[in-house]
């Protein structure tokens, strides 16, 4: 039986790792350069990047600001320090070159491989946690095939070079911890996750609800505060940090889509859904499997907001579990979800959602205009994009409703 398992597992892992390493090399998105440009100051002992940028913006070769919470900076700064040792001085020349040559450096493949290697490790760890979460060996093959070969994670992690996989790892780990009744640890992880990107904050109430008594409630709250506060300590007094955090992209976007009710009032659809999930969750507060709550909270961001492509990584692990567990044949729904997601995203007026990311493989790719520039004369792109977003929303809602039904809520 063991040998049989290994028969499929070894080639699966070999091919998944090979594919990921090649995708690390092949694709470049300027965001990774922007993060790493800021992260390079970590090795010079800069802990408060927000004030450092505010004070030095006129001397820096790029005026981009660092928009993520401090733990993201420490994480990227650590990657930067290690990468600098492996890649040498050429790496820092490239990071500080914001001219046209910065997109087409001859050593781009090396830079991309080393910078994205930590993402690959996190991605594989996430697959491992999903196997632990699902806890049924018979489903592992289905789960891992989905996790390793779905185009959304390859696109978000390796093509767009985004580090959202780290928070996804934290949320899945906290889901497992809640299942094992370790609420303070789960809350602490979510707190730490929120110090990288803010969305794990939205998941915290579901964990806190599960407290069995006052002592556990106090411990869970304390662990949350510890997770949130520890990374904040070096920047607590920074007004530049407070200003940056007040500009949260996520919070602005989840309040955007609303239903007008007259009198100048609008009901934000995402917030309505989220509140509904809070009530459902409260009703089943003795259950420790938070999959429906976590999936709904993270997926509805895509469904009801003008999303960034990498936000799909937040809900993807939970979608993988649903895919593996649900006995029904859900591939048409998942296919519709993927089509809706990709084309909503490809129709954003940004060269680096599609053609630009190939610039590492083909330096001429930067000369090809964004898909929207090519198509705008042939169709009303807002309408086309809205149609694809509708497909995404309807398919996502179907999965969410189905999941809640499977968990005994009609």
């Amino acid at each position: 039986m063991k040998a049989e398992t290994n028969n499929w597992l070894k080639p699966l892992l070999l091919s998944a790792i090979l594919l990921r390493l090649l995708f690390c090399l092949f694709f470049f998105h300027p965001d990774i350069k922007s993060y790493q440009f800021h992260a390079q100051f970590f090795r010079h002992g800069v802990w408060d990047i927000y004030s450092y940028i505010a004070e030095n913006v006129s001397h820096l070769p790029s005026s981009d600001v660092f928009v993520y919470p401090p733990l993201a900076y420490y994480f990227l700064g650590s990657i930067n320090a290690v990468s600098g040792v492996i890649l040498g001085p050429d790496f820092y020349s490239w990071l500080n070159d914001w001219g046209p040559g910065g997109y087409t450096h001859p050593k781009m493949f090396e830079f991309m491989l080393v910078l994205k290697l930590p993402y690959l490790v996190l991605d594989l760890m996430l697959g491992y946690l999903l196997v632990l979460l699902i806890g049924d060996r018979k489903l592992n093959q289905k789960l891992l095939l989905f996790w390793f070969f779905n185009p959304v994670s390859l696109y978000g992690i390796y093509m767009l070079s985004q580090f959202d996989v780290l928070m996804a790892l934290f949320t899945v780990a906290s889901l497992i911890l809640v299942k094992n009744h370790k609420l303070p640890q789960a809350a602490c992880l979510l707190g730490l996750g929120a110090m990288i990107k803010s969305y794990p904050l939205l998941l915290l109430p579901f964990v806190i609800f599960r407290s069995k008594d006052k002592r556990q409630f106090a411990l869970t709250c304390l662990a949350t505060v510890a997770g949130l506060l520890l990374p904040l300590l070096p920047v607590l007094n920074s007004s530049a940090f407070r200003f940056t955090m007040s500009q949260s992209n996520l919070m602005a976007r989840i309040f955007q889509a609303g239903i007008e009710v007259g009198g100048g009032q609008s009901l934000p659809i995402y917030v309505v859904c989220y509140t509904l999930v809070l009530w459902f969750s409260f009703k089943r507060k003795n259950e420790t499997d938070l999959l429906p709550e976590f999936l709904t909270t993270t997926l509805t961001v895509l469904l009801f907001a003008h999303f960034h492509a990498q936000w799909a990584i937040w809900s993807l692990p939970f979608l993988a579990v649903v895919w593996a567990k649900d006995k029904a044949n859900l591939w048409p729904v998942y296919l519709a979800l993927a089509i809706g997601y990709f084309f909503t995203n490809f129709l954003i007026a940004d060269q680096f959602v599609l053609t630009g990311i190939f610039s590492s493989l083909n330096n001429h790719a930067l000369l090809v205009p964004a898909l929207t520039d090519t198509l705008k004369n042939f169709a009303d792109l807002s309408l086309v994009q809205s149609t694809f977003h509708t497909l995404l929303t309807a398919s996502g809602l179907y999965l969410i409703i189905r999941l809640w039904k499977n968990y005994g809520h009609s």
């Binding site: 390493l21 092949f26 090396e110 060996r137 592992n140 001429h364």
Partner: protein
């Protein structure tokens, strides 16, 4: 079955990436010619302080100049002019922009009809802006190392030697040559010793650790 499936999917994704990357050449209307990509600092352009650069394209069909320009905190919202003149001083192209078109540090593309016999001819790029105030001047990338582009020279007030940051492009004559050059670029980039060593080491290490953990739960 799973074994075959996983290798087939991998092969499909890798082939798709390479085919799309090479295929993008079919949509390209211009190809890089020569460049001086380094931005060491900026030269500031304002009233009576134009900046010029001589360039000598290596191909016929010269049709684009990409410059690194910087409009600090988007302060300049006035006119900005790019002119290209040939060795006789005849204006070949003139493009009038506005500070609105220039970001706080980024590439700006100047495009004009292809010059059919541009190969080995010398042209002068002149950038000028009428703003009288240096605080609203537009910066252009500059590298003081004259060896970075020996065939040309930047001139500005108090500047001797060095070059602007620029990339020249030409309109491709033969599409097949373009596809071949991209394919060569991919192969050349893939087979550097350091990259192969890093790739193999990463692959072996990551697989070793992953296998160690995964085999316990499967």
């Amino acid at each position: 079955m799973v074994t075959v499936k996983s290798w087939l999917i991998t092969l499909f994704y890798v082939c798709l990436a390479i085919v799309v990357a090479v295929g993008l050449d079919l949509l390209v209307r211009r190809v890089p010619d020569i460049s001086q990509p380094v931005v060491e600092k900026e030269l500031w352009i304002y009233k009576d302080h134009p900046v010029t650069q001589t360039v000598t394209p290596k191909h016929n069909g010269f049709n684009v100049v990409v410059l690194y320009l910087r409009n600090v905190i988007l302060r300049n919202q006035g006119p900005f002019t790019f002119t290209l003149t040939d060795k006789n001083g005849t204006e070949v192209s003139r493009i009038d922009l506005n500070g609105y078109n220039i970001t706080d540090g980024g590439s700006v593309r100047m495009q004009f009809p292809p010059i059919p016999d541009s190969k080995d001819q010398t042209y002068t790029i002149t950038l000028s802006a009428p703003t009288p105030d240096i605080t609203t001047a537009i910066g252009v990338g500059y590298n003081s190392d004259s060896n970075s582009y020996p065939a040309g020279l930047a001139t500005a007030e108090n500047i001797t030697g060095g070059d602007m940051t620029f990339h020249l492009y030409y309109s491709p004559q033969k599409r097949s040559e373009l596809l071949l050059s991209t394919f060569n670029h991919i192969l050349k980039s893939l087979f550097s010793f350091k990259l192969v060593a890093l790739f193999v080491a990463s692959f072996a290490t990551v697989f070793g650790f992953t296998w160690h953990f995964y085999k316990r739960v499967n």
